[in-house]
Every structure is written in structure tokens, then in C-alpha cells.
């Protein structure tokens, strides 16, 4: 886990506005919900363990 928050928090805070998708929410499983340029929504897990 990252200092001061979870790996998911870290991922959410580092999404670039020019990344080609935007963050639109978070699921009960703590996945990020992203929306691509076609308007499709995808759940994304962020893992902080290394190496995976």
C-alpha cells in the first residue's frame, strides 16, 4: 500500500486528463471506473504489491 492511502487512491490521483480516459467513479470492490472516449465504462483494479 502507498503511504497516506491505498494503491487505488494513488492510481486515482495520478490519472492524467490527457490519458484517453477519465475517472467516473469507484465500485464497491474498490475498482476505479473509467470511461473511454467511446463512452464505454470499465472497472480497473490497482495493485500496489511488487513484484506482481
Amino acid at each position: 500500500m502507498m503511504a497516506g492511502g491505498s494503491a487505488t487512491d494513488w492510481g486515482a490521483s495520478h490519472i492524467d486528463c490527457n490519458a484517453g480516459f477519465k475517472l467516473v467513479g469507484r465500485t464497491a470492490e474498490d475498482f476505479l471506473l473509467i470511461e473511454d472516449r467511446q463512452g464505454r465504462t470499465c472497472p480497473v483494479a490497482v495493485v500496489g504489491a511488487k513484484p506482481v
Binding site: 502507498m2 494503491a7 494513488w10 492510481g11 495520478h14 490519472i15 492524467d16 490519458a19 484517453g20 480516459f21 465500485t27 464497491a28 470492490e29 475498482f31 473509467i34 473511454d36 472516449r37 467511446q38 464505454r40 470499465c42 472497472p43 480497473v44 483494479a45 490497482v46 495493485v47 500496489g48 504489491a49 511488487k50 513484484p51 506482481v52
Partner: protein, 163 residues
């Protein structure tokens, strides 16, 4: 070590992509296989951006890794290709012993690049420069030789796989 990714894959809702942070963290072959079986893509936040632009997040595969996986796996002397990590493959050959190949992303491969790969992935037979640009320094070749390995460009790998 799929155990690290297993918890995020054990929910009723499965992710279409798994991001590992930091982006420099390596992925083991079993972890990659586990994620691909969902099916889901994996990689850095940068990979997630590329996947989103392609419009197929779950089916995303890193193009560079895919190129080396196909090129090595389709060599006529390679019987089977196993992925140890995202950038390390073991090529079992029909003729000759198996070769462990570590991909090194550097413009001019240095001795430090070779040593870093050794520290990160353990022993390998070949440090393979990923880019066709730049070259392999003599210091990199010497460092590899000191480990009982070789450092080379992709064009030399095809010949080496046949030997």
C-alpha cells in the same frame, strides 16, 4: 505469485484491466496468465491509456512485448516459449539447451543496464536490447560475459537461437 492479483479477481465484478504500481514493477508469468484468463489486460497507467484509446481494455496486450514473444516463439528452433516475467522469456529449443532471454529497454545498453536486469530477474543467458536504435556497449558485453551471459541486439538473437 498470482496470489497478489488473485484478491482483485475474486469478486463477482471482475476488472477489465489491472494496473500495478509503480509502473517499473515487474509482472511474473503466472500473474500475467491469471489476468489474461479473466480476460483482462495488465500494465501501467500508460498502458491503460493506450488500451482505452484502442477501445479494447480487456484485450489489451503490450505491443513491444508481443513482438518479442511472437518473434522468439515462432523461431524454427524454438519448441516452446515460457514467460517468467513480463520482460523475461525461456526459449526451449529443439537443438541446444534452453535460453533465458531478458529484454532490456535502453538506447545504448550499458553494463549498469545488464546488472540491473540481473538484480531484478536473476540469472539469464541473453540480455536483449529491445530497441533497434542505439547499440550494445562493450562494457555491457563484458558485464554480461562476467555473468556467463551475452548481450545482443534483436538481429543477432535470431541467429543465436539457431546455434
Amino acid at each position: 505469485m498470482p496470489k497478489d492479483v488473485a484478491p482483485v479477481l475474486g469478486h463477482a465484478t471482475e476488472p477489465e484491466f489491472v494496473v500495478n504500481i509503480p509502473s517499473s514493477a515487474s509482472w511474473s508469468g503466472p500473474a500475467i496468465a491469471t489476468v489474461h484468463a479473466v480476460p483482462a489486460g495488465f500494465g501501467s497507467l500508460g498502458d491503460l491509456g493506450r488500451a482505452a484509446r484502442q477501445g479494447d481494455v480487456a484485450g489489451y496486450r503490450n505491443k513491444e512485448f508481443g513482438f518479442f514473444e511472437r518473434a522468439i516463439g515462432q523461431h524454427s528452433n524454438v519448441r516452446q516459449l515460457t514467460r517468467l516475467y513480463d520482460t523475461v522469456f525461456v526459449a526451449d529449443r529443439y537443438s541446444g539447451r534452453a535460453l533465458t532471454i531478458a529484454l532490456v529497454d535502453a538506447y545504448n545498453m550499458s553494463a549498469e543496464d545488464v546488472r540491473t536486469a540481473r538484480s531484478k530477474y536473476g540469472t539469464f543467458d541473453i540480455a536483449l536490447k529491445m530497441s533497434n536504435y542505439g547499440g550494445v556497449t562493450s562494457a555491457a558485453s563484458q558485464a554480461a560475459e562476467s555473468m556467463g551471459a551475452e548481450a545482443m541486439m534483436f538481429r543477432h538473437l535470431m541467429r543465436r537461437l539457431a546455434q
